[in-house]
């Protein structure tokens, strides 16, 4: 059986600067979301608002394993991944505020965004719909002989969909360079894992597709990174997809409108003690990589970035109503 538990730590392979960069992105995600939650409760974010509270180690650890030309197909709790691959915080806030400066220019909302020019497939609502598309992006790389890898994220709930199954199978059969990162946060909206699957573990699905599967602590950014780095290397070498099950907990409601009374509070408390950012901070402090001074500097930088980004977004205009019928069809392929 190809499923193994990944316990190795890859921290050794990373420079102190890289480790701090990982922490920076984890904190940046948290800070942006923290700010956005306030905006949401002020009624300034139209529609639903989703956070990745508790998922930061997954977003950062997995994405950090990508090379510069690699591709990303994220989901709705991976804000750091978008940021790491080149989407500026100001455009994220503009997206949340439905402004012209948002990635979709007000066409789609919240984290339904991306930028194909940066190699980031925008997420749509239909769970796991990105998975076959990610396979197709990898196919194009393979067809062109490019050694690029596509990393895609999805939730435990998403694994129940036909799209997920078909996409994973397609990638496996064609041995495409895809890395499949499962963010198992124990719930899909109100549905607990045991109502989503009867499998002993979701990673047990891997052998059914003939691909390696590995389960990691999703709150340990270096464990996620190690697993992703191995999977990216395997994919790049023609070894095909790997399923990485990252185990974590969704620390807030499904969206900010959800009071999630269905989650036992003890469960939340247990996971709160293992907050991925706090865990990583402690480690970096213990190992002397995060000095008090560096810490303060980073916090200051983030606070400033967030406020600047938000200010930019707020200055971005609302989309022009007269433009409503535009942009449905491309006039040329621009190539």
């Amino acid at each position: 059986m190809s499923t193994i538990e990944a316990t190795s730590r890859a921290g050794d392979a990373l420079t102190p600067g890289e480790l701090l960069e990982m922490l920076y992105y984890m904190r940046l995600q948290r800070a942006i979301e923290d700010r956005a939650i306030k905006l949401y409760y002020q009624g300034r974010i139209p529609g639903a608002y989703f956070t990745g509270w508790g998922h930061e180690a997954i977003a950062v650890g997995a994405t950090y394993a990508l090379g510069p030309a690699d591709l990303l197909a994220p989901m709705h709790r991976d804000l750091a991944a978008y940021l790491m691959r080149g989407i500026p915080a100001r455009r994220v806030f503009a997206q949340f505020l439905d402004r012209e400066g948002g990635l979709t220019r007000g066409r789609d909302g919240n984290i339904h965004m991306g930028d194909p020019r940066l190699g980031i497939l925008p997420f749509i609502s239909h769970m796991a719909a990105s998975v076959p598309v990610a396979a197709g992006m990898a196919l194009a790389c393979r067809q062109r002989g490019q050694a690029r890898v596509v990393l895609t994220f999805f939730g435990d709930g998403a694994t129940s969909t036909g799209a997920w199954h078909e996409g994973v199978n397609f990638a496996a059969v064609l041995r495409l360079p895809v890395v499949l990162v499962l963010e198992n946060n124990q719930y899909a909206y109100s549905t607990p894992l045991d109502r989503q699957t009867a499998a002993r573990a979701l990673v047990d699905k891997a052998p059914g597709y003939g691909i390696p599967g590995v389960a990691v602590d999703g709150n340990d950014v270096l464990a996620v990174y190690a697993a992703a780095r191995a999977a990216v290397a395997r994919a790049r070498d023609g070894g095909g997809p790997t399923l990485i099950e990252c185990r974590t907990m969704r620390m807030r409601g499904h969206s900010e409108a959800d009071h999630f009374a269905y989650v036992p509070r003890e469960l939340l408390a247990a996971w709160a003690a293992r907050d991925p950012i706090a865990l990583f901070e402690r480690r970096l402090r213990e190992e002397g990589q995060l000095t008090a001074e560096a810490d303060r500097a980073m916090q200051g930088r983030i606070a400033q970035e967030v406020e600047e980004a938000l200010a930019w977004a707020e200055a971005s205009p609302e989309p022009a109503p007269a433009s409503v019928a535009e942009g449905v069809y491309a006039a040329s392929d621009g190539r």
Partner: protein
Amino acid sequence: MTYLEAIREALRSEMRRDPRVFVLGEDIGVHGGAFGITKGFLDEFGPWRVIDAPLSEAANVGAGIGAAVMGMRPVVELQFADFVTDAFTQVVNMAATFHWRTGCPLPLVLRMPYGGDVKGGPFHSQCKEAWFVHTPGLKVVAPATAGDAKGLLLAAIRDPNPVLYFEHKHLYRYRREEVPDGEHVTPIGRAHVAREGTALSVISYGWMLHKCLAAADAAARDGIAAEVLDLRSLLPLDRDAILGTVRKTGKALIVHEATRTAGVGAEVAALIAEEAFESLDGPVVRLASEDTPVPHSPVLEAAFQPQVEEIAGAIRALAAY
């Protein structure tokens, strides 16, 4: 009560009345559903009649079909109507053709929370009822009022065919009306004259009906007496009611929230142009949402959807024709 409460009460009373009726869907049990419609159901009816399903629309609709084959009366909740595209084969191929292939009934209801003005954007706001109206073997209803929300849900549950029940999310809490107690069944296939008039016929359904009524009020202040027809059922359409009102007024304005091209309005207009041609004193006009995905930005969505002003303008223009 609200439109939402009317749905809840209808569902609950049918489940009390008929042990074959059950509900199935994502997050409908412990949580009571994304909109809280089935709140309290799990406690009252237990986990085999209030089934929290995995995130798998094809399985959930398919399971509803299977249970209906066995004589149960499943009501499957799609969390948002937009997600029915994941269950399309089950709806349009498996369910729609079942009776025709076998001669056996298929008493299935799909609850389809649909429509915009909920800041939902392109994947939580769609109005795709026309897809199903073009699918023989299905029935399609779309209540605009709390009373019809109840009456059509009772009718849908009791119907021996697969019925897609399009419940408008914006109306959930926006509409609050008196709803008749007890056995209040709105027959499928019957439209309703929501406002009498003589100058022209405004034909609509769902959330837009209320905008049409407001626009008709505005036009009335200019002395234009518009008749407003609430279709309520989209498949089958109430041909007699549609042709009747147009024969009476000689003019038709069709308004819907679905995008314009090949929407349900096209069928209504075509029906009129073919069967009421001799009564027509003016073009058959359609007002509908722009032919784009549903924009998330409220500013854009307001421009996307027909608005009262625009409808009133179209009423005046057509009346003056």
